[in-house]
Symmetry: C2
Subunit: 477 residues, 2 copies
């Protein structure tokens, strides 16, 4: 008897978020849901992360409607989302009631598994969201953001797992957004968690593939006892994305482990996204292939493209390498935060500023907040000189409490502001949309009735472009 | 103390052969040789395979001159080549004296490690070339072509290793050209070889990355005792190519194994080829990414592009999937040969014919020869009905002896034919060039004095194309 390994399919969320800038339209996912539903996954990640933002900003699509559609089309599957804890799916801390209501509504609309993480691994920021999920009776997954620094040891990660267990989580996720998790630490951390938390604590491993090494890490994690791993179907995998689902299945064949995935269904899912992907070519990350420099810079792929576009806007696109070298310095000053939304953007933008204007000559508001504790605690002390400069810049004092403790109740305010907006439909879901994206929501409410947009090219446009390229290749131009 | 693992760098041969259709010009490799020479590789594969053909067919470059240049620029490195045993670098069997002379000249011009393989794993075809290498005092590596079929078991591969050892080889290579080698068989075969041949027998693993799973296989091979593994620098890796050298290094960090590669030099090598690669975009394989269907079809990536172009010439490009499904059937009829040059071309072309004209309605001359034993023995019996049809078609009888035993001495003939060609320089090297590519050599001899061609675009052309694409992306067209 071989041991079963469960799999979460990422293609409907993180897969296209990482490779196609989160632009995939719902209509390109709908036709394949039935195959996904029947393929034998543990869960299907399909919501949260950047999809909510992308829905209202680019796709004129109601994210709640998307969730309800997935619920309908995936009746046999556990739906999974990525939730930024106290930040929900926005970029600031929300007051606890907003957190509660968001979780309630997500559960009510069909969400099953909530992967809850905090960018700083500050456990206080996870607490409210985790409790909210537990109250709904849904699956509360506590998340450890994996990163490397002189302070981050395997033991520290295991300690955090123990605290997540004490919080009552249903499973523990090791989230490796930058593909930094090498095979040996993967083995040791999973082993450590199983020892500390007991064998029955489910361990779920999420790894990107950017550095080319994390499929091996999944193997080692499985050997150490990991129960569930994340993959994305091969036609939307690799590069800044994830290890291919089919490769995971093949990897385990003949070993003492097996998945229960149906290969003929995987083939259909693969073929579907192979057909869809070229239509989104213009959104495709340039960082396809493998990038082992990340082991030094710790920078996730998505963050690099952000910094590139910021530099580009300043006419300094050629200074990307300086910025890549600056990131670890900024990170040290900031107490070695993991680099994941929103800390990746905050550190990245400050690194761009440092290169363009001199080290910490100009501080962004967000970076000052990070230095002052308004995002939570970091693993290492932050640089006192820059804390001082931040306090001066932001005209605020450093804090040590849980940031959300300083927030006043805001739900009623948010509702009454939302009610003033044209197109607001009166639902709590709409209030949440406004709460998370107050700049974007008003425009979205107004245009919502026009229906979803599909930003991809038509198959005809793709074929014409391919024909043109082929003609050029053959010198026919 | 951790155990050292040695690495062969493939970028100068199989790396660009697999990803850039073997088109890389010598001048694009010269500037980085010093870094490669100092990086700490066990060997540098830089010659043989398809490079010889490509040199004279496309690059107007003397392959022997290329070898001498590598010898000069890589004074501290073992140079390695891929040799198709009795086929040398051509596509037919050569009489033994030609084999001897080719090996002598290769050694004399600087070759150190000869990886000798036969497409059918017929050990009789390896014998003469292996003996020739041993006579020169160079490293004779016996090769097992890895494939899967109902007949290919781990034990059979281990048996073959034992026979290679009996032949006196200095090391044994497991050559996985189609990325079919999964982690568990990798472990078991290496372990089996070490047990059968003794721990001191060097085991060298060559795997492509097409299916996305073979870096894990390298890990398992190393755990089973593999001494040397093949990789290609990350900027020319993955897809139909190989696992990235830097990922291999990262994979082993923290484990009980280590390489002695210098990471700062790897970074320079990576950056060099990252700069060069876009200039060869028009030659780039479309099969970038991962392709796990290969586990069913067993078809190496390069073979797919060949069949696609054959279909394209017949205006039937849309029938590629039928051909992919036909290949396993053709392979079964032919006794389950591994698919590697030249058997991959022979089987692939016959599969194309079968789809276009009906199953085995029209036989190619090469396929008939394969069925009749003129390439050697296969692991399984070949289909008697198609053998009969082949005999009729080719007007030849089936044979069971070593194919080269039927050949008459041919060296003097080859020399006198070569002497009649304009531009022939009188050397044995030129005779060998003529012997291997009698159609192409005459043209090459004539134009040789014009000097090497570089088929890549200039950096300026690449920049202009990128600017145009960016403009289009931003809607400026
Ligand atoms: Co992710
Ligand atoms: Co190869």
């Amino acid at each position: 008897m071989t041991r079963g390994v469960e799999v979460t399919e990422l293609v409907l969320r993180d897969g296209h978020q990482s490779i196609l800038a989160t632009r995939m339209a719902m209509e390109d996912m709908v036709p394949i849901c039935e195959e996904i539903d029947q393929a034998g996954y543990w869960s299907v990640e399909c919501w949260g992360g950047a999809t909510y933002d992308s829905c209202i900003r680019f796709l004129n699509e109601d994210p709640w409607e998307r969730l309800r559609t997935f619920r309908k089309l995936l009746p046999n599957s556990k739906l999974q989302m990525l939730l930024r804890a106290q930040n929900l799916l926005g970029y600031r801390h929300y007051e606890d009631e907003v957190v509660d209501r968001f979780v309630d509504k997500s559960a009510e609309n069909g969400m099953d598994v909530f992967r809850v993480f905090d960018a700083l691994n500050d456990i206080r920021n996870l607490e409210r969201a985790m409790k909210a999920v537990q109250r709904t009776g849904k699956h509360a997954q506590g998340t450890i953001c994996y990163t490397t620094s002189p302070l981050h040891t395997n033991d520290k990660f295991v300690e955090m797992a123990k605290r997540l267990q004490d919080m009552g989580c249903d499973s523990i996720c090791i989230k490796d957004m930058a593909a930094l998790l090498k095979p040996q630490p993967a083995y040791e951390i999973v082993k450590g968690i199983k020892e500390a938390c007991g064998d029955e604590m489910l361990v779920h491993v999420h790894a990107h593939s950017t550095t080319g090494v994390t499929l091996v890490s999944l193997m080692k994690a499985i050997e150490a006892g990991a129960d569930i791993v994340d993959t994305s179907i091969s036609s939307l995998s690799l590069g800044p994305g994830h290890n291919p689902t089919e490769a995971l299945v093949a990897m385990l064949e003949g070993t003492e482990y097996h998945t229960r995935l149906d290969k003929s269904r995987l083939k259909k899912i693969k073929e579907h996204f192979a057909k869809i992907r070229p239509r989104y070519a213009e959104f495709e990350s340039k960082f396809i292939g493998v990038e082992t420099d990340i082991f030094e810079s710790q920078i996730p792929g998505g963050m690099i493209s952000n910094m590139e576009s910021q530099l580009g806007q300043q006419g300094a696109a050629d200074r990307i390498n300086e910025v890549l070298e600056e990131v670890p310095r900024v990170r040290k000053v900031a107490g070695y935060p993991p680099l994941v939304t929103p800390s990746s953007q905050i550190v990245g933008t400050q690194a761009v500023f440092n290169v363009l204007m001199g080290p910490f000559k100009v501080l962004t508001g967000e970076f000052a907040d990070l230095m002052l504790g308004y995002y939570g605690e970091t693993i290492a002390e932050r640089d006192p000189k820059i804390i001082e400069a931040s306090a001066k810049h932001a005209k605020k004092e450093p804090i040590t409490c849980r940031p959300a403790d300083l927030l006043n109740p805001e739900w009623e305010d948010l509702r009454s502001q939302a009610e003033k907006l044209g197109g607001f439909n009166g639902s709590d879901e709409d209030v949440l949309t406004y709460a998370m994206f107050p700049q974007v929501a008003p425009g979205f409410f107004k245009t919502r009735d026009d229906g979803p947009k599909n930003l991809s090219q038509t198959p005809e446009q793709v074929a014409a472009a391919a024909a043109k390229a082929a003609a050029k290749r053959n010198g026919i131009t």
